[in-house]
């Protein structure tokens, strides 16, 4: 019999960074599993998006994708309202939409959201940090891009906990450029010899290692942050960075494809799912490194 062709598209807000590799792999693995399991369908998964963070451009791309006529959209929605209209247009055109990784909130007509709650993940980081440095002292918090919704949410989660302690924090805008990021932390640590920790709410965490090593502050300053970037994992293994928060993006790709399949096959309504906040530290680093190698983490 003729197989039913289902084209799904993953749209991310900065399609060219490798963060999405596990997410897309999760989606493709799910498609492969279904294709093997169900002889009646043939699912394809394609990944697209603006090359760098740009909400307006992402909306344009979503509109173009709707125009091209696909059978399901899995999209990050790093803006509370911008995606309302295009998602509605997709639904009107009979294309189901699931939000992944970054959510626009329940007012958006998307059918479901799969991903980490940025705010609670921020709280998780802060709680773990307090476990290491106590409830007082000075720290710096780096954020790549002021105004980026997810990052601001994570920051809010971190501050929510820190504001209940005596910890004195300074916020640094590190930009996505590691040189500037490293300079900012370096300058901060030179200016604040008594600082206890530096943290980042994004992949700029990888810059911590160099700074701590160059200033000879190994063991004196705690480093923590987000995402499983190779350099960050190396830093954890080398004892320069204490821990990093993993969003487990594999799940954020895998589950939406499953949900879209079930929607097309049995009209089962997709449901929300929390992809959790995995903490990676010296205890589980070996295992994570191995999985990251394979593209699952």
């Amino acid at each position: 019999a003729q197989k039913k062709q289902l084209d799904f598209v993953v749209i991310t807000h900065s399609a060219t960074i490798d963060f999405w590799i596990p997410l897309v792999k999760g989606a493709q693995d799910a498609a492969a599993m279904i294709n093997a399991f169900d002889p009646e369908v043939e699912i394809t998964v394609r990944h697209t998006g603006p090359s760098l963070f740009n909400v307006a451009e992402q909306v344009n791309i979503m509109e173009n994708v709707i125009q091209a006529g696909v059978h399901g959209i899995i999209s990050t929605m790093p803006d509370p309202t911008a995606f309302d209209a295009p998602v509605q247009r997709a639904l009107d055109a009979g294309i189901p939409v699931i939000a992944t990784n970054a959510d626009a909130g329940p007012d958006n007509p998307r059918m479901a959201y799969v991903g980490q709650s940025d705010f609670s993940a921020g709280q998780t980081l802060a709680r773990n940090l307090i476990g290491l440095i106590g409830t007082s002292g000075k720290i710096a918090i780096g954020i790549e891009d002021l105004g980026h919704t997810s990052l601001q949410q994570r920051l809010a989660g971190v501050l929510d906990i820190l504001d209940q302690t005596d910890i004195d924090y300074t916020i640094l805008q590190t930009t996505a450029d590691l040189t500037i990021g490293a300079s900012m932390f370096e300058t901060y640590l030179i200016g604040n010899a008594d600082a206890k920790a530096i943290i980042s709410v994004d992949a700029n965490t990888q810059a911590h290692g160099v700074v701590i090593r160059n200033l000879g502050l190994e063991g004196k300053v705690i480093s923590a942050g987000w995402d499983l970037v190779p350099t960050t994992l190396d830093n954890i293994r080398d004892g320069l960075t204490a821990f990093t928060i993993d969003q487990q993006p594999y799940v954020q790709g895998f589950y939406p494809v499953m949900a879209l399949y079930l929607y097309h096959k049995y009209a089962i309504a997709p449901a929300d799912m929390d992809s959790g906040a995995g903490v990676v530290n010296i205890d589980n680093i070996a295992e994570v490194l191995e999985l990251a190698e394979k593209g699952y983490r």
Partner: protein, 316 residues
């Protein structure tokens, strides 16, 4: 009429031909490119930057440049959204937004002209300042708005047989700009100022005023774009519009405007604005790898500018 008139010049013919070739290519390789909804889609997508391109073109013809439009765009969108959230009437808020946009442009113009500094550097500085403003007033958080229908309908909606309103604004502003640049003495003064500021001044043209007005106009167009974008997306992020200035300048130059001032048309600018939108749209429709899209756009940009200047290049 104006458009037709200005199209006669050879510069636009080159890039118009390139645009046609591009459209034929996309029509052949995708089966969705040449459909009414997609054409409307492209028009809508280019309209936000396109609004700015018109006055950027006028500014560049006057031999200036503005790198701060993207920040201006975000700041104004943010101001209007926050005023509205705090209970200001949306029409009043928009008016204030337009005025603020004009004032930010005025600041660019005054510093550039009165302190005789290169506009590239001045507006690079104000790009950072205005972006900082957007961040400070918003605290870094995006703002969402639920606009009254009357306002939404004339800014962000799709009306009249699904025609996107932003595209109508774009076309309206294009006609307005074409009139101003090609049919009034103000437009003539812009060409004179950009062609040889010294000569224009010696013959009694107040070139400082022309240049400052140009900056105000481009500032107001960025503000208008910011307001329409805010309405269309029903909200605004303080990081909106980054890199927009470069795309606006690129469209301007693709449209045949000389970066050395004195030469260019609104008709060309219109084609230039559409051109960039068509490329982006077509590439996504083709399912091009995201890693390659910017690379291809960069190459197309250079080729398009080459095309648009080819016909007028001096032969020897």
């Amino acid at each position: 009429m104006h458009l037709l008139n200005t199209l006669r010049s050879r510069r636009e013919i080159g890039v118009l031909a390139a645009l046609v070739v591009l459209c034929i290519f996309f029509t052949v390789v995708t089966n969705t490119f040449l459909t009414v909804p997609n054409i409307l889609n492209i028009l809508r997508q280019v309209s936000i930057t396109g609004l700015i391109v018109m006055f950027m073109t006028m500014l560049v013809i006057g031999n200036d440049i503005d790198l701060s439009v993207g920040s201006n765009f975000a700041t104004v969108g943010m101001i209007v959204a926050l005023l509205f959230q705090n209970g200001t009437n949306i029409w009043l808020a928009s008016l204030i937004g337009l005025i603020v946009g004009g004032l930010l442009g005025l600041a660019n113009g005054l510093i550039t002209v009165k302190a005789a500094l290169p506009p590239f550097i001045v507006t690079l500085g104000t790009q950072m300042i205005y972006r900082g403003l957007a961040l400070v007033i918003s605290g870094g958080a995006p703002a969402s708005v639920r606009l009254p229908a009357a306002f939404y309908n004339i800014t962000g909606a799709r009306t009249f047989w699904n025609l996107p309103v932003p595209a109508l604004w774009f076309i309206g502003i294009t006609i307005l700009a074409a009139f101003l640049l090609h049919k009034t003495s103000y437009g003539f003064k812009v060409y004179a100022t950009g062609g040889n500021e010294e000569a224009a001044r010696l013959s009694g043209i107040n070139t400082s005023r022309v240049r400052i007005i140009n900056f105000v106009l481009v500032g107001m167009s960025a503000a208008l774009a910011g307001i329409i974008q805010m309405a269309y997306l029903r909200g605004v992020t303080p990081t909106a519009g980054q890199g927009m200035e470069l795309m606006a300048i690129a469209s301007t130059v693709i449209g045949g405007t000389s970066m050395f001032g004195g030469v260019g048309t609104i008709g060309g600018a219109f084609i230039g604005a559409i051109f960039m939108g068509v490329v982006r749209n077509g590439l996504v429709l083709m399912g091009t790898n995201a890693y390659l899209i910017d690379l291809i756009i960069g190459a197309v940009l250079i080729s398009a500018v080459w095309f648009s200047t080819f016909s007028t290049r001096e032969r020897r």
